[in-house]
Symmetry: C2
Subunit: 304 residues, 2 copies
């Protein structure tokens, strides 16, 4: 296993990794760096890592695992800046939400290092050094996308590392990862960002009314539309092809439902709406969501 993990970028992901290592891998030393001095201060206060450094070079010194936790489009530049400082035998990994373009950027920036990209499918709508918590990865998936030829021993160590943090690891091809995540994560975020924007621009309905009556469904979308704007800008750009492909399918399906509403084709609507229930059932059966109505927030809202 690793002795010293360096974390570059101390936001929700980086901070949670630091806290998770302290909680579940107490023998492992951690160091970290964030480009923002204010974030480094918060990281020190919250003790996200053992040692918060004032440069990335200092943070990666003597590390045997370096995890880049910066927005996808920054990965290449950050890696290139640290190339000479990262120990030659260190394993480099990341937490980027898109994998093919990040893997290519890292391979190009670090031609002489071993790079094995990864993506923990875990997060909340909160971001920054205040947002992390040790159990973020527990009972969540972590998708590892090793290049074709890789060091199998290091790969095993990286898998064991994520498992120690509570995740279940899947090995996947980077391109396939990008398609899967485009539909399960990127497209939902794009749709949520869109509808929240649409609702706030209306003339006929005030923003106050939108907020007031949001329990009818809208509030579910606002949660993911509150996610980190920098990261999401980068996700859409770095996974552009898969996102645009999925968006095209979505638009076709939406147009078909729009037409069914216009011509009042109740049967087509009913058939579609009945089909979608089954997916919810499977998600709950596989433990991927809370089965309680309203995600359990009813318990919080009222006194049921």
């Amino acid at each position: 296993m690793f002795d010293h993990v360096a974390i570059i970028g101390l936001g929700l992901q980086g901070g949670s990794i630091g806290l998770a290592i302290r909680a579940y891998l107490p023998g492992v030393r951690t160091s970290g760096y964030d480009i923002s001095a204010a974030n480094r201060d918060v990281a020190r206060e919250r003790c996200l890592v053992d040692r918060v450094c004032d440069t990335g070079e200092e943070a990666v010194r003597d590390a045997d695992l370096v995890i880049l936790c910066v927005p996808p489009c920054a990965m290449g530049t950050v890696a290139e800046g640290l190339r000479d400082a990262i120990p030659a035998d260190a394993l480099v990994s990341d937490v980027g939400s898109s994998k093919k373009s990040v893997a290519d950027a890292l391979a190009k920036a670090l031609p002489d290092h071993l790079v094995i990209p990864a993506h923990p499918v875990a997060g909340t709508e909160n971001s920054g050094p205040q947002a992390g918590f040790a159990s973020l990865f527990r009972n969540r998936w972590c998708i590892v996308t090793p290049p074709e030829k890789t060091d199998l021993l290091k790969l095993t160590e990286l898998v064991a590392f994520w498992e120690a943090l509570g995740a279940t690891v899947e090995i996947m091809d980077a391109e396939h990862h990008d398609l899967v995540l485009a539909v399960t994560s990127h497209l939902p975020h794009l749709i949520a960002y869109t509808i929240v924007g649409t609702a706030s621009d209306l003339e006929e309905v005030t923003r106050g009314e939108v907020i007031k009556y949001s329990a009818g469904g809208f509030r579910d979308f606002t949660r993911i539309a509150a996610s980190d704007p920098t990261m999401w800008r980068d996700v859409f750009i770095s996974n552009k092809d898969a996102v645009l492909t999925m968006l095209q399918r979505f638009t076709e399906d939406l147009t078909a439902l729009q037409r069914a509403i216009r011509v009042e084709d109740g049967e087509a609507l009913y058939k579609h709406f009945e089909r979608t229930r089954a997916i919810r059932r499977s998600i709950i059966e596989e433990g991927q969501d809370d089965a309680r109505p309203d995600f359990g927030r009813a318990d919080h809202d009222g006194d049921a």
Copy 2:
């Protein structure tokens, strides 16, 4: 206040009204009817109302408030069928999610009765006689849309009734209600139904993968896409004009974001994504959602 409330349709809404009356208005008698014999059996087992009747006529006899809790497009037919049985001085109301077309249908079906439509903005993804619970309306809005000329005393009594069940009442014009709900509830449901359908039809990504990695955002959409298909078919048809108007705006906004992704206009994406955070903040400040990350389900998922 009312002495005897008759509830027609004993699903999530009707059942919850019955249970809420027993809990918060213990002096009031309740009777109820559901077109499905199986639902009536469940209603009897769960004691959703004091007396479950085998006909609607029997249920409304001697009632001074009749609440129709059937799908929007069935309102007119159901009301017409009960016209001769509903006492002449009874107030008739409903819980339909669209108001203009329902109000028109009820006014036409019951020309000699006093009708004051209402819409409790409360629900869960569950439906049927098993789904109701007494606190469904607590801390939720109930929008009442009286016709221009109405009996103000009866209106006051209806408002007091919903307040006794825990709701906060707003009086609104039916057309405006339909626009507000089109954006806060109907469009979100349509989008959610669409994306869940799109995801289940892909060839490149299996349904198993969609379910497995749904925590990346997709699972939030599956909750509302599991709502009652009959009711939602009727909502879209009965509020067609407002839904199509809002959908048009949404599509324009989505196309603009799609273009920004295609041309990699990071600045446009960032600007949009930053703006949408503010709405989430307001929803939480106004107590319309749970402030905990992931709606608080993180507490359930892991051990944070």
